[in-house]
């Protein structure tokens, strides 16, 4: 699978497609590639609808290139919903709010970065070169999904674009930072994966008992701050006690 990151002028400005996912979910699709301009339109529509949710809508799920609207068809019919969305896309085409930028501590020690050496070898890099590339980039959080708080990041440097594994590897630990298919993921729950574990964050992107159970949202930016193993252990304990160890700044 190739993930295009080139802006596509045709899809970045044209009218969205409305696709049905059954009679209780509507997909508003702005394009079919991973593209910041398309994702901006998704997030702008999401923000507008959340600010003033039409009666009968239940949940909005932003993804790379589309917004899924879960609705109760006994309260709002499909055509009325499409009309509301069309009005909203006209109003919000200018863009979304100012995203926050998160700095997430990440330990690249091979004790935690289980697949770093394997990935570096495939990419014809040294371990240190791979880490340097990963740390220098600023990532966009395109969407959250798959498991609670899991973040999908775009903006992976070309040197770290790697195919997914042909077959999944055994489950990684919670907090794993992974690369695969031209994307990067921060995974708060242990899961089997076809991606490569290149680091681990002590931060908990989801914590049930914390006031903000979910730390980040689609549309925010993110950078990784390299830490050593001792710092990781320290921050891990602080995170376990409820402290937020990532830093947030409004750009």
């Amino acid at each position: 699978m190739t993930l295009k990151v080139d802006p596509d002028p045709a899809t970045a400005s044209s009218a969205p497609r409305f696709l049905d996912a059954g009679e209780a979910a509507l997909v508003v699709q702005f394009g079919d590639s991973v593209d910041p301009a398309i994702n901006d339109r998704v997030l702008a529509l999401d923000a507008a609808l959340r600010a003033d949710p039409p009666l009968g809508t239940r949940e909005f799920v932003p993804t790379y290139r589309s917004l899924m609207i879960h609705y109760d068809p006994l309260q709002i019919d499909r055509d009325a919903l499409v009309a509301v969305v069309c009005r909203a896309t006209g109003v919000v085409a200018e863009g979304r709010g100012t995203p926050a930028t998160w700095t997430l501590p990440c330990c690249y020690d091979p004790a935690l970065a289980e697949d770093l050496d394997e990935a570096a070898t495939i990419l014809r890099l040294t371990r240190d070169q791979a880490v340097a590339l990963h740390v220098q980039a600023t990532y966009r959080i395109y969407m959250c999904g798959f498991t609670p708080g899991q973040a999908y990041l775009g903006g992976v440097p070309d040197g770290l674009v790697i195919s997914r594994r042909p077959a999944p590897r055994p489950p990684h630990d919670a907090g794993a930072v992974l690369i695969g298919g031209g994307l990067c993921v921060v995974a708060p729950f242990a899961m089997p994966t076809g991606w490569y574990v290149i680091g681990r964050t002590p931060e908990r992107l989801y914590a049930a008992e914390r006031k903000d159970a979910f730390l980040i949202d689609a549309g925010d930016n993110l950078r990784f701050d390299p830490i050593d193993l001792a710092t990781f252990r320290d921050l891990e304990q602080r995170a376990a006690s409820g402290e937020i160890v990532a830093r947030k700044s409004a750009v």
Binding site: M68, L74, D217
Partner: protein, 363 residues
């Protein structure tokens, strides 16, 4: 912990795999990757709850073909079971598969897989005294959310119930003909990615015949049938997944994504099962054949409206006469005739007093 005066306890004596606590689902967090979970068969779940006077989306025990044995501690409990055609017994006496009864302190209710169906629901009148996660009791075992410590129920679990109202000393069959759903046809709305398949593949998808494979759980039902081919590859940029989405991965074997599905995914989804037919598919046993029928959004919404109307009339409980009659005799009876309907807002369902027909235990 001692139960307060108004409380009683459901104690699990033994549980097969896959018995969980489920309410109507953990809604509002899909954008953060949190699956709603909730019942596999929402219609049966609502029926059991309404039969004990609970709101339709209250927390109930979802029981798989693994079965369960429960008893009441520290008082009696009003309970109801509805869903697939399971084999139920109380004190060793057989009961109908959809039933409301008072579970006396120390009485043992056994629920086992029966002739048909894969899931049934045990609802208890009152409120479950278990902490919620993100506003819901719904259990999602893959992420450890909800229920009891995010896991399935096991022998020894004790569930505190704050009882509502006073149990009525009657046992009766729940009159819920809407739970007798033949599997033959499952209705779908095509899309959102049916344009990833050529017309002949859409036709093959609708014609089937399909059956549910043994590989199935609360997350997904794998289907067996014709192998579908994609016209435009099988990788899409991940997007949202609704319950009942039928995704077709590279091997051409469709997978129906159910209550515990992931929130997003990257395979083309050829169609989505309509809400009113989700429970019908969930109840299917492996091997039973069916086909898909494409319907319009308007038809799907009409089916939803019909289902909502059924439940809004309330649940009727038929007094149970402890006698056995032949199926031929029972088939000759009009079990609906002459009953008095209750409304869901009533404290407890109204019992038919005008005409009492015996109901056979159908296992």
């Amino acid at each position: 912990m001692m139960a307060a005066a108004s409380e009683a306890i459901v104690r699990v004596l033994s549980a097969g795999l896959g018995a969980t606590l489920q309410d109507a689902g953990r809604h509002g967090y899909l954008r953060f990757g949190v699956t709603a979970a909730g019942p596999m068969d929402a219609l049966a779940h609502a029926t059991a709850n309404l039969a004990v006077g609970n709101p339709a989306g209250s927390t109930a025990l979802e029981i798989s073909v693994g079965g369960i044995d429960v008893t009441a501690e520290s008082g009696s409990l009003r309970v109801a079971v509805a869903g697939g055609e399971f084999a139920l017994s109380l004190h060793g006496r057989p009961l109908p598969p959809a039933v409301a009864l008072d579970l006396e302190e120390g009485a043992v209710l056994k629920i086992r897989a029966g002739r048909n169906g894969s899931w049934c629901y045990l609802a208890v009148a009152g409120r479950l005294m278990v902490p919620k996660v993100l506003g819901s009791h719904a259990t999602h075992t893959r992420t450890g959310f909800g229920g009891l410590d995010g896991r399935a129920l096991v022998a020894g679990d004790r569930l505190g119930i704050e009882r509502s109202g006073s149990p009525k000393p009657s046992t009766g069959a729940i009159v819920a003909p809407w739970l007798d759903r033949p599997l033959d046809t499952i209705r779908v709305v095509l899309g959102p990615q049916h344009d990833y398949f050529a017309d002949d593949q859409i036709a093959a998808f609708l014609a089937g015949p399909w059956s549910v494979s043994a590989k199935r759980d609360r997350m997904a039902y794998f289907l067996e049938g014709p192998r579908l081919t994609h016209a435009r590859g099988y990788n899409i940029v991940s997007d949202g997944i609704a319950m009942g989405a039928i995704q077709v991965p590279g091997d051409g074997c469709p997978i129906v994504l159910m209550a515990d599905r992931q929130s997003t995914g990257g395979y083309p989804k050829i169609a989505n099962i309509i809400g009113p037919d989700l429970g019908r598919l969930a109840q299917a046993r492996p091997g039973a054949a069916f086909r898909f029928e494409a319907v319009s959004i308007a038809q799907a919404v009409a089916a939803r409206r019909e289902e909502a109307a059924l439940l809004s009339r309330g649940i009727v409980i038929e007094p149970l006469v402890r006698a056995h009659f032949t199926s031929e005799f029972l088939l000759g009876l009009n079990l609906i005739d002459g009953v008095v309907a209750s409304t869901p807002s009533d404290d407890l369902p109204t019992t038919n007093t005008t005409e009492s027909h015996p109901v056979e235990h159908r296992t």
